[in-house]
């Protein structure tokens, strides 16, 4: 072996870590897990079903037919192929209603998470980057907002004003942004000290440019991935609001209202609460499996295990 050869082999010493973009690595690592794939297929299957389902099967979620009330799902005595998952106390098709419920929950979950993500990260990044008084003030506001649990804030505001999908989303965003602000700020704090930020500064890049062009593409995708878990949380909160009666108002069905209305019939028509509950649980399971896999992938990356 020649000495030259010896020396060049040692060039490869630094590991691959940190070379591929953080988020891509994370996504690829997560995709490798079975949980993520199961979650992905369950979740997107349900999304497709909830978007296309009602028109595909031609059943109306709101059409009342008192004569058909309390039909059980097929497979149970009295079940009927016209209503695969049975009907509710007004004879409406539970399958269609649950799908609409899913759609609403998803819409609210997604929109509110996107909203809180954008708002929170923007505030967090500014606080972390600018520092000083701006940081202090923004963070105290964040802490304050964070000190009110989501549900309490939602109940307080929605309970005393008439809830609309818009107001629900607003309240959820209001309650949810601080967590993102905190994460974005702490990542920004450590990122701000990183060499590439200093390098950009030395090149003469403005603060805004550094934040948007250099830092944001680096730190936001991993946070966004973990936000998937929040979609599930927001969906649960939407259901809870519906359950307490301060969610989206009838006749639009939501998981919460279907469950709440079916509670009375638990004994003689168990499926009214069970079907939407299960569907909600399954879709949450899908999201949580995905989000969980992404979160673990992120933790592993941050801890330096590849």
């Amino acid at each position: 072996m020649t000495p030259e050869l010896v020396s060049t082999t040692s060039v490869a010493q630094p590991t691959l870590r940190g070379q591929r973009s953080l988020s891509a690595t994370m996504f690829i690592n997560a995709w490798r897990t079975t949980e993520f794939r199961i979650g992905f297929f369950v979740f997107f299957g349900l999304i497709v079903l909830s978007v296309l389902g009602p028109s595909l099967f031609g059943v109306s979620p709101t059409k009342i037919s008192v004569a058909d009330k309390f039909l059980p799902p097929i497979g149970f005595e009295g079940g009927n192929w016209a209503h695969v998952l049975g009907t509710d106390q007004l004879g409406r098709d539970l399958f269609a209603r649950s799908l609409i419920g899913l759609r609403n929950a998803l819409m609210i979950g997604l929109i509110s998470v996107v909203g809180m993500f954008l708002l929170g990260s923007a505030i967090g990044m500014i606080a972390g980057y600018v520092g000083g008084w701006v940081d202090l003030i923004l963070m105290r506001i964040t802490d304050a907002q964070m000190a009110i649990p989501v549900i309490i804030l939602a109940i307080t505001i929605l309970g005393v004003s008439r809830p609309t999908p818009f107001s629900i989303v607003c309240v959820l965003i209001l309650a949810g942004w601080p967590a993102y602000a905190r994460t974005a700020r702490s990542v920004m704090l450590s990122e701000r000290r990183k060499e590439y930020v200093r390098a950009a500064k030395i090149l003469g890049a403005s603060d805004l440019r550094i934040m948007i062009v250099h830092v944001a593409p680096n730190i936001l995708p991993p946070i966004a991935f973990v936000a998937v878990l929040d979609v599930a949380r927001m969906m649960i909160i939407e259901a809870i609001l519906g359950f307490i009666g301060i969610g989206i108002q009838p006749p639009t069905p939501t998981f919460g209202t279907i469950i709440a209305d079916g509670t009375k019939y638990l004994m003689n028509a168990w499926w009214i609460t069970t079907v939407p509950g299960l569907l909600l649980a399954i879709s949450l399971c899908g999201i949580n499996l995905m989000g969980g896999a992404l979160e673990r992938a992120r933790n592993k990356l941050l801890q330096g295990v590849s």
Partner: protein, 634 residues
Amino acid sequence: MSEAHPILRVRDLTVELQSAASRRTVLDSVSLDLHADEVLGIIGESGSGKTVLSRAMVNWVSRPLEMTSGQIFYHGEDLRQMPVRQLQVLRGRKISYIGADPTSALDPTLPIGHQIVEKLKSVEPGISEADARKRVIETLQAVRIPSAAERFNEFPFQFSGGMMQRVMIVDALVTSPDLLVTDNITQPLDVTVAAQILRLLRDLQAEYRTAILFVSSLLGVVNDIADKVLVLANGRVVERQSMQGILQSPEHEYTRHLVRDMPRIWEAQSEVPAVRARVNSNDGREAILSVRDVSRTYATKDRSRLFGKQYVQAVRGVSFDVYKGDSLGIVGESGCGKSSLSRLLSRLEEPDSGKILFKGQDVGGLRGTALLNLRRGFQLLLQDPYNSIPSHLTIGRTVAEPLIIHGGHSKAEIREKVAETMAEVGLGPELAHSLPVGLSAGQRQRVNIARAMVLEPELLILDETLSALDQVEQAKLLGLFEKLQVRHGMTYIYISHDLGMVRRVCSRVAVMYLGRVVELAGNETTFFNPGHPYTRALLSAVPAIEHRPYDAATYLLEGEPPNPINIPPGCSFRTRCPFAFDRCAKDDPALLARGSGDLAACHLAEGGMPAPGMSPAGLHDLNQVPALRSGTGA
């Protein structure tokens, strides 16, 4: 101790790396003997299996690595066959291991003393708490940790790397083991601290008569301690000789190469090109950068007082000029303020006082476009090649970024300019459209350089820019810098603690201590006739295989630089200076010109210090060691 019964006898040890697809031999039939009171050095390039070998000695080989054959006899007993419990006790008590990373070897949340006591009680079950404590404190004192009884209760994070390495030595020696395995223990340390640790280990080895298996990747370090050396290449022992033998007649090709390429400071001719070799003097050249009495203080929280603040004086009254086409080196121990100074120079931060003039223009008050224009003129290259370029932009885009920021270029112009610059720094045009994924450190550093060069700066500041690279890559880049300097007449400031490199490329050297320049001199003067005892101390600590003109007995510093928070009055170096006298406590020496026009801040700069022992280049005489030891005793 008889030659016949070595403490450690390794026979045909083979370790394989088992991965899903393949299996690879990491250690190939390694055999070695280690006798009592002997220090066996193991050297080899990175990845040659040194760490694996040293860990195998304590039976710490875990998947995906696997010991597939061979025996490790400790006093004749095979460690590989030994029951776990027995091995457990043996490991802490009779065989000790010290790794390369002292700061993470102990539980970060418990006081160090308690953890050593815990270990002591665990391997010597009979010992009482009080006895254990006493023994630990005594050993802490033995490694010269000041106020050991108090530091006993301090936490790992409150110790510097060097102190922590001492703590690990205490942890290893507190049970008086007869075998000590050390893996690259000086690697994370500053040169002076590393030299201290080596000296300490030598002393302790003599006192405890411990056999040491000393693993290092630096020939100079092994040279300072080992009796015999074993050279490892690709998992195989390729050479075993006495230390002297290795240096005088290396047999294996790798070893020869190693000995030959070891950078020399005093034996070699300076390679600084003649253009730049002109010493100091303002022989009419314009100073491109003038630093005038610049200071910077940081405020931090003081935990010992209510709402208290501490002031860290990171840079104190630094002044120097850099001339066009020149290369200035800035050296000093860790924490002396080199990086802080570089931040001030590149105007990432503003100095609290003092002025920085770039081509006569005060950098301080600049804002907006004026600042932007200024930035064209000088650039800073950072140390970490991995973190300093964004991973989500293509290389071409990264190099183009400064042009976009500074504006005024058409798309075509930018493309052309980027391609040109990339070619100049040796990046293939095909890289322009790829992400930095998969680039080697050297290539990344080239991207970095290209990004700085694309603005055609006149001054480039390099803050430890090359220290993350291996020697070959370093040499190539140094060549590139020289080429660029010749072609564009660029000026460099190298910030580094690698004295060998500074010796090679810088025409002038500024030595910093506690935020202040204590010596500013030409290359030759700095290395052959330094005017400040601190410079001599630095030189005495450089691990080398050549004779050092400044012997460690006289110059090697004890302890670490004082805290930049409470800088004592008078000369700030006097607390560690071997020549300190009354005046030093009162008068803070100014940076004054010495005879040759070089500057030094010492009352004795013009005489009073022993002349450097310029003995002819030769081997370090091992027999000197005990003498050295007695010289530094208390």
